[in-house]
């Protein structure tokens, strides 16, 4: 029998189980595990074993079987779930992930599971090490409060209940679906343009009705593409735990809003930035236990990752109760590295100072650690978030901790833009990159050094010509200068354009190879009149 049609299903389902396994291990370890979580862990390993066996993946089945056995001994209270078990189980989960990736890549790799199987079978708790942590005992401890609020909130991973009402759909089909919907929206704008010229009432009525139906279709298609935040959030407890162990810190990590749903594309893009922010929080944000004790703080640092819906946006917040950031120090460091001039530094607000951490070449880590001081920095984090159509703000209080706030659109393919004209080119600016539009009277412009500035919200913002930045001729005539306020390299600026055309919903089309490699372009779109516009990637335009 040809099993290949079932292989993809096996891969996606087994990965789901593995994610649950990793998450549950960390949870059980941190919260001195409830019975319910241990049962769920046992079941996930059990399901994995069954699926692998039926597909003929003997080694995956064998390893899952041993994990299931070890959990069974814990359930029967022959063993206490301690850090040793957690390490062993996580090692098992990692190896399973590698083996499933082999299956996905159709690689006939030989993975040695013998050693790990041996250790799983022969596991004995190390004597005298149970309950190591001083103060709050994170690991170990008997299963206690069986009905803690966390239990009640934690949904059953077992979803057999509604199996008959759900289907699995390949993600390409979903992508295709949203493409077609986007094309329909573009075509609707075309019909409306034609309708205006013809002045035909029946046609107008039909297009209005079409608009309504398309809006419904669009909503439904978007709903189908939404997946819960837990899809990526479930692996973060593991990331935080491993890193905290490595750098000798004690961390209580909380995740809220796992059920909040986001577009699949955005969620996938969020994984790396969030990992980076979380690693930063563990590595730089939180103090070492001694330092915390000296400040009179609890020994366990607290990191919270929370997602929530706000109108048509999703807000994701990472906050820690660590040492916080000192705006004056950040500014001094940026001046020293010649990233900002001393004058600009003096005028900088605290909010802007925190954003300095996102300038390429800025890193305040006193020494480069192999954890987060190198490679992709906060600049990459911010530009990724902006590319996803979102934005990042940072808040911090010295001695109390920092908050990283990510605002993201629910969907990525259809976005709201401000259409502007520069010379004869129409350009689309994602609304998320526009803080405000202003029509500025020329007499309100003044000079500060070599820079032309204007006052905005009590702050002197530099004026830049977007025409000049893009190498287009400028014709900023007229008494009022149209400009929009946006953030460039962590600094708020006013970007002058020739004309505002208006606000519109557009369907983002990829530029593809080779044009996508050009900096500052975030894709293109076709307007209702057939005109092609480019979407400006404001964060990367300079």
């Amino acid at each position: 029998m040809d099993m290949s049609p079932y292989r993809d299903l096996f891969i996606s389902e087994s990965r789901e189980h593995l994610r649950a396994v990793s998450e549950l291990i960390v949870k059980v370890e941190q919260e001195a595990g409830s019975r319910k979580d241990m049962d769920a862990l046992f079941r996930a390993a059990h399901s994995l074993k069954g699926m692998a066996a039926s597909m003929g993946y003997g080694e995956i089945a064998e390893l899952s079987h041993r994990i299931e056995d070890l959990m069974d001994r814990v359930r029967k209270e022959e063993l206490v779930f301690d850090a040793g078990i957690a390490d062993l189980l996580l090692e098992g989960a990692d190896l399973l992930e590698v083996m499933i990736t082999d299956v996905a890549n159709e690689v006939q790799a030989v993975r040695d599971i013998g050693d790990l199987v041996q250790r799983l079978v022969a596991y004995r708790p190390a004597t005298g090490t149970a309950g190591t942590a001083d103060g709050g005992d994170v690991a170990g401890g008997a299963p206690s409060d069986r009905q803690s609020p966390a239990d009640l909130l934690h949904g059953e991973p077992d979803r057999h209940g509604d199996a008959s009402q759900t289907v699995r759909v390949r993600t390409e089909v979903l992508d295709h679906l949203i493409n077609i919907t986007g094309e329909l929206i573009t075509n609707k704008h075309r019909l409306m343009t034609v309708g205006k010229e013809l002045a035909s009432q029946p046609l107008d009525e039909a297009t209005v009705e079409l608009s309504r139906l398309l809006r419904d279709l669009h909503t439904e298609v978007l709903l189908v593409r939404l997946i819960p935040f837990s899809t990526i959030a479930d692996r973060f407890p593991r990331v935080v735990r491993d890193l905290a162990k490595k750098v000798g810190k004690e961390v209580v990590f909380e995740v809220d809003g796992k059920g909040i749903e986001l577009d699949r594309g955005i969620l996938e893009g969020l994984s790396d930035p969030l990992t980076h922010i979380l690693r930063n929080a563990v590595d730089h944000g939180l103090e070492l236990p001694d330092e915390r004790r000296a400040c009179g703080k609890p020994l366990h640092g607290r990191i919270r990752l929370a997602a929530r819906r706000e109108k048509d946006q999703v807000v994701v917040v990472v906050e820690d109760d660590g040492r916080g950031m000192d705006p004056a120090l950040l500014i001094a460091s940026a001046i020293e590295k010649r990233l900002v001039s001393p004058e600009a530094g003096r005028l900088m607000s605290a909010r802007e100072a925190f954003m300095l951490t996102c300038i390429p070449g800025f890193s305040t880590a006193r020494e480069v650690t192999d954890v987060s001081g190198r490679g992709v920095g906060m600049d990459a984090v911010r530009s990724t978030i902006q590319t996803l159509g979102g934005n990042l703000t940072i808040e911090s209080e010295l001695g109390k901790g920092s908050r990283f706030i990510l605002r993201l659109p629910l969907t990525i393919a259809i976005i709201n833009v401000l259409l502007v004209r520069l010379a004869r080119v129409a350009l689309a600016i994602p609304i998320t990159s526009v803080q405000r539009t202003v029509e500025l009277r020329r007499d309100l412009i003044y000079s500060r050094g070599k820079q032309k500035v204007f006052d905005f919200d009590g702050e002197a913002l530099p004026l830049l010509s977007l025409n000049r930045i893009l190498g287009l001729p400028h014709s900023h005539a007229g008494e009022l200068l149209p400009l929009f306020v946006s953030e460039l390299k962590g600094r708020r600026v006013g970007l002058v354009v020739d004309e505002f055309i208006g606000q519109q919903e557009i369907f983002v089309k990829p530029l593809g190879r080779p044009l996508a490699s050009m900096k500052g372009l975030g894709g293109g779109a076709v307007l209702g009149n057939g005109e092609v516009v480019f979407i400006l990637d404001v964060a990367n335009v300079l």
């Binding site: 094309e183 080119v425 593809g512 044009l515 900096k519 372009l521 076709v526």
Partner: protein, 141 residues
């Protein structure tokens, strides 16, 4: 515009004959005015909308440094698996069947894969992968 695999589409540029494998060309269309791309190098003439996809127009003459495309010309839309590109050329001459062993002289220009003898002259076969790579490298700068 369909044809069996091992054929060449022959087109002209500044009086010279060039060729592409038929499989690499999706369609040949009449030029329309491309929307210029701010800050792009000269050989990128802009982007057009081809059946709902955005396609970048490459002025092949400018890239090969032998003048610029004739306004009348043709756009050769490449297979999307190669790139989202259309080549602006002067005119399309037609198809020729490619025979077994043909001209193997290694041409001086790396953007030309090989030269094929056909009837009275030679046809320069473009090295599409290298052309796309070169354009991409230039754009990254």
């Amino acid at each position: 515009m369909k044809a069996s695999s091992r054929g060449l589409l022959v087109f002209t540029l500044q009086g010279e004959r060039y060729g592409l494998s038929l499989q690499d060309v999706l369609e040949v269309i009449d030029p329309s005015r491309p929307v210029p791309v701010p800050r792009a190098p000269e050989f990128i003439r802009g982007v057009i909308n081809v059946h709902g996809s955005l396609v970048t127009i490459l002025d092949l003459a400018r890239l090969l440094a032998c003048g610029e495309a004739a306004p009348a010309g043709k756009f050769l839309v490449l297979d999307r698996r190669i790139a989202n590109l259309a080549l602006w050329v002067d005119s399309v001459e037609g198809f020729v069947a490619e025979e077994g062993e043909l001209g193997t002289d290694s041409p001086a220009d790396e953007l030309i894969a090989r030269e094929v003898r056909s009837g009275t002259g030679t046809i320069r076969i473009l090295a599409l992968d290298r052309i796309v790579n070169r354009v991409e490298e230039t754009l990254k700068r």
